[in-house]
């Protein structure tokens, strides 16, 4: 059965800390891996990764995919309180349906 597993489930840090969120997957017909940030309502798109070893960056956020070991990490450096959210990892299959992990809840305190 296809599955996406995220860890940790929850993380509490102080502003300025660096965090690493993990996503591992077992999915047939893999096409891409996506990261989303969910604050109060709708998940918002962060990154889409299709190739191993190529880092995607957006400001303090970066992500990389390892298709051999079947995982991805999302790094956030110099965290801010505005980074507090649920971070969702999802894998897209060639059948074009997204499978989501359960998410990592990040809380950043001043």
């Amino acid at each position: 059965e296809d599955k996406v597993v995220q860890s940790p489930l929850s993380l509490v840090v102080h502003e300025g800390d660096t965090v690493t969120l993990n996503c591992s997957y077992e999915v047939t017909n893999f096409r891409s891996l996506l990261w989303y940030k969910q604050e109060k309502k709708a998940p918002t798109f962060l990154f889409m990764l299709t190739s191993s070893g190529i880092e995607k960056k957006s400001g303090r956020l970066s992500s990389i995919l390892d298709k051999k070991e079947l995982f991805s990490i999302l790094n956030i450096t110099a965290t801010q309180t505005g980074d507090s959210a649920i971070y969702l990892c999802a894998v897209e299959r060639n059948t074009d349906k997204l499978i989501f992990g359960t998410g990592t809840r990040l809380q950043v305190f001043p």
Partner: protein, 112 residues
Amino acid sequence: IAGITQAPTSQILAAGRRMTLRCTQDMRHNAMYWYRQDLGLGLRLIHYSNTAGTTGKGEVPDGYSVSRANTDDFPLTLASAVPSQTSVYFCASSDSGYGGYTFGSGTRLTVV
């Protein structure tokens, strides 16, 4: 406003009642999806539609039905609501089913 509109924002519903959650997009995306989000279980796919006139079952379709009469609208119907359908429901769309999805703001449904 470009994006996805869901209605209602929240609803309390008596068990056994029928309810339709509305979803409209104005991006002319081909594919649309309904997910439910529950604590500890993440987002799970209920139904999807790859293009107008077609629909398919997702991971948790029981108790739900959908229709896709046109490109823009993708309503989700609960024929006879049960308490286990208490959840937050998200509608999403994508262009040709590839790449990042766009999500609506969600409908929080409580079945009592």
